[in-house]
């Protein structure tokens, strides 16, 4: 996959169609809904909240935006207990202490007032900049893409804090003052919806519920991402995956699994999906043993037949 180089003079797109084309040029295929949401997020300079099941392509949107825009991708992976220090900034205590010791040792401390010393200690060089601060305090050039990934994993206190930052793209470091973005970063927030995000946060965002792609788009995605896979194989794989997604599995296959599976079959010299090859490669597409067992006991033959009948 060769992507066109980032455009040095990036500016927000003029239309939904331009947005869709640009993302496609960087190997991400949208539908009209997602393209509209991305377009509006860029034009209205609002965060984009993408919710949906794991593997539908949420995170990839942010990565693709970064390559298109040419800005840095700043990723904040959320987890339970994530806080200000890990997400925004913290003071490097070890280095502050070292500075203090040095000042003492050289006698510099003797002459300096406590205020001066403290001032020195809270100098920017002792500040450890984490994702949020970096995203706001970026240099010239295209804006960075701030990816706040899987926010549903963080505690809701963290959301409240995030809300403050996203509200005006600024953060206050008590010792240094307010840091406001001259050009707001492009913000993409994803959630697998293991819990509901706060309404107030949602209100700041443009929202898109990301579904698994339809057959046609998934075929196109497979062909784009795994060019060695032929049209016929791609179609049968997409059809079988769609069938699998309808079974209420513990972890339904995402787009990445479809791509992997199609590549695996192509590698095995297959140009379609049969019960036998499905049996041999089921682990590529279903990651959980329970799901594999469930599908096997349902019957692989019938799955292949249903896929062909429904989407053939």
């Amino acid at each position: 996959m060769t992507s066109p180089p980032a455009d040095p003079t990036w500016s927000a797109p003029d239309s939904v169609a331009v947005t869709a084309d640009a993302l496609a040029a960087h190997d991400y295929l949208t539908d009209e809904g997602l393209a509209t949401a991305v377009f509006l997020a860029l034009r209205l300079q609002r965060p984009l909240l993408l919710e949906g099941e794991a593997g539908v392509g949420k995170t990839e949107v942010a990565k693709t935006l970064a390559t298109w825009i040419g800005g840095e991708l700043i990723r904040l992976q959320c987890y339970e207990g994530i806080d200000l220090a890990q997400a925004a900034y913290e003071w490097d205590h070890a280095r502050q202490l070292l500075h203090l010791r040095t000042a003492e040792a050289t006698g510099a401390a003797a002459g300096a007032s406590t205020d001066d010393l403290e001032h020195e200690l809270y100098d920017e060089r002792f500040l450890v900049r984490r994702a949020l601060l970096r995203a706001l305090d970026h240099g010239d050039g295209p804006p960075p893409v701030l990816l706040i990934d899987e926010l549903d994993r963080a505690d809701d206190e963290f959301e409240a804090f995030l809300l403050e930052i996203l509200a005006d793209y600024a953060i206050t470091v008590p010792e240094l003052g307010r840091v406001a973005a001259r050009v707001p970063p492009v913000v993409v927030i994803t959630s697998n919806r293991t819990r509901d995000l706060h309404d107030a946060l949602k209100r700041r965002c443009l929202y898109h519920w990301v579904e698994h792609p339809g057959i046609e788009r998934e075929v196109a995605i497979v062909r784009l991402r795994a060019p060695e896979v032929g049209e016929r194989l791609a179609r049968q794989v997409a059809a079988a995956t769609a069938e699998l997604r309808g079974l209420g599995l513990y972890k339904p296959p995402g787009v990445a699994e479809t791509i992997d599976w199609a590549s695996a079959l192509a590698l095995l010299g297959q140009d379609g999906v049969t019960a036998e090859t499905l049996d041999a490669t089921l682990g590529t597409v279903l990651k959980y043993r329970e799901d594999q067992e469930r599908v096997r006991s349902n019957g692989l033959e019938s799955l292949v037949a249903d896929a062909a009948a429904r989407h053939g």
Partner: protein, 389 residues
């Protein structure tokens, strides 16, 4: 202030709201979504209009997706959205797509995204300064201090309307849309805003801001709806409703001989509808009281497990109880241990000669942080201060 200038086309000669002037059609569409149960914040209407302008809406699907991105916030919204969209725009191509003719500015909405419906009668937007809003109803000082039990039906209605505008201010967060340069800091100070709004009696009132801080503590309100509370119960529930609409993290209960959770009922935006739903949910309205048992039930099922932890818990009751006072004392102690603050609001406290002699009240008092009146607007204003701080 995020304000949207809309323009009007000539009369379309039809009653179909979808054929009205473009932005009016968009507003009407949002109103229809709300009626169908979607909770669409005020700011979203403006974002929607902006989005439609950007997307161009040269076809139906542009309009559809512009609305999806700005008006929906959950997958559960989508079915309702689809149904309303189809029904609303059924009468042919939306007027939005037609060229605009006359340019009469219309202010669409407030800039405050946490505010309730723009059609809320107690609110009015101004078009020049984000710091002012109008509180339309003008109470007299007399009404402010009148005991609810002595109010006429009209006075009660007026008082209830005022209550909505009072707690409305509690909800306000700083207005910070996508124009950082005009961003404001600090959340609205309910204490000062509520006071100001009432005192000036319908003048334009500036919103007072406090410094941004943590989000508000959870607020748990328990309202006594037993027989002895009859003159106050409805007014207090109104207040509860206003408080619920005004902020997040609010839980509401009614109690008499048993406890009924009303959080869902109170979430209905329209106060009359909320009160009606509450009436249906509570089946021991105007009956007896078993305070100890009820507080115990609250502790066991909700409070001690988490809902009351670190919360401001407000009990609105006259404290007249036939139950065991020791049990009440014990349960109040449990509650006080986990809560950030326990406030007891007693409408009878203001009655001259009333001493907390009721056995229940006496047993509860040692575990209460604040014991205040609740018989009038002024008293509830005072309660509002207790709640926000």
């Amino acid at each position: 202030m995020a304000e949207h200038r809309a323009t009007e086309t000539g009369a379309t000669g039809t009653d179909d709201p979808a054929q009205a002037a473009p932005d009016e059609a968009l507003v009407a569409f949002v109103a229809t979504l709300r009626k169908a149960g979607l909770s669409v914040p005020v700011g979203a209407t403006v974002a929607f209009a902006d989005a439609v302008a950007l997307v161009g809406a040269t076809d139906r699907s542009g309009l559809y997706w512009a609305g999806r991105a700005t008006l929906c916030t959950r997958p559960e919204d989508l079915d309702v959205y689809d149904a309303v969209f189809d029904a609303f725009w059924a009468g042919g191509p939306p007027a939005v797509m037609r060229p605009l003719v006359v340019a009469t500015p219309v202010t669409l909405a407030l800039d405050d995204e946490d505010a309730p419906d723009p059609d809320d009668a107690s609110l009015d937007a101004t078009d020049d300064d984000g710091e002012v809003l109008a509180v339309r109803y003008s109470p007299t000082e007399v009404l402010r201090h009148r005991d609810f039990a002595e109010c006429s039906a009209e006075e009660l209605a007026e008082a209830h309307r005022l209550m909505s505008s009072m707690a409305l201010s509690a909800a306000r967060r700083p207005s910070r849309r996508h124009r950082p340069s005009r961003a404001r800091h600090g959340r609205i100070d309910l204490r000062r805003t509520a006071r100001g709004g009432m005192r000036t009696g319908g003048e334009l009132v500036s919103r007072h801001h406090t410094r941004p801080g943590e989000r508000p503590r959870r607020l748990v309100l328990l309202v006594d709806v037993s027989g002895s509370m009859e003159p106050y119960a409805r007014s207090l529930l109104r207040f509860v409703h206003a408080a619920t609409t005004g902020r997040t993290r609010v839980e509401a209960f009614a109690f008499g001989t048993r406890l009924t959770r009303l959080t869902r009922e109170m979430a209905t935006r329209d106060p009359d509808a909320a009160l009606e739903r509450a009436g249906l949910a509570v089946d021991d309205w105007a009956g007896g009281t078993r305070l100890g048992e009820v507080i115990g039930e609250f502790n066991d099922r909700w409070g001690v497990r988490g809902m009351a932890r670190g919360a401001v818990v407000v009990i609105l009751s006259d404290g007249w109880d036939r139950g065991d006072p020791d049990q009440l004392g014990e349960q109040m102690q449990r509650l006080a241990r986990v809560a950030h603050r326990v406030v007891w609001v007693n409408p009878l406290k203001a009655t001259p000669g009333y001493e907390p002699l009721a056995r229940g009240m006496a047993a509860a008092l040692p575990h209460v942080d604040r014991f205040i009146e609740g018989h009038s607007l002024a008293a509830l204003e005072h309660l509002a201060e207790e709640i926000v701080t």
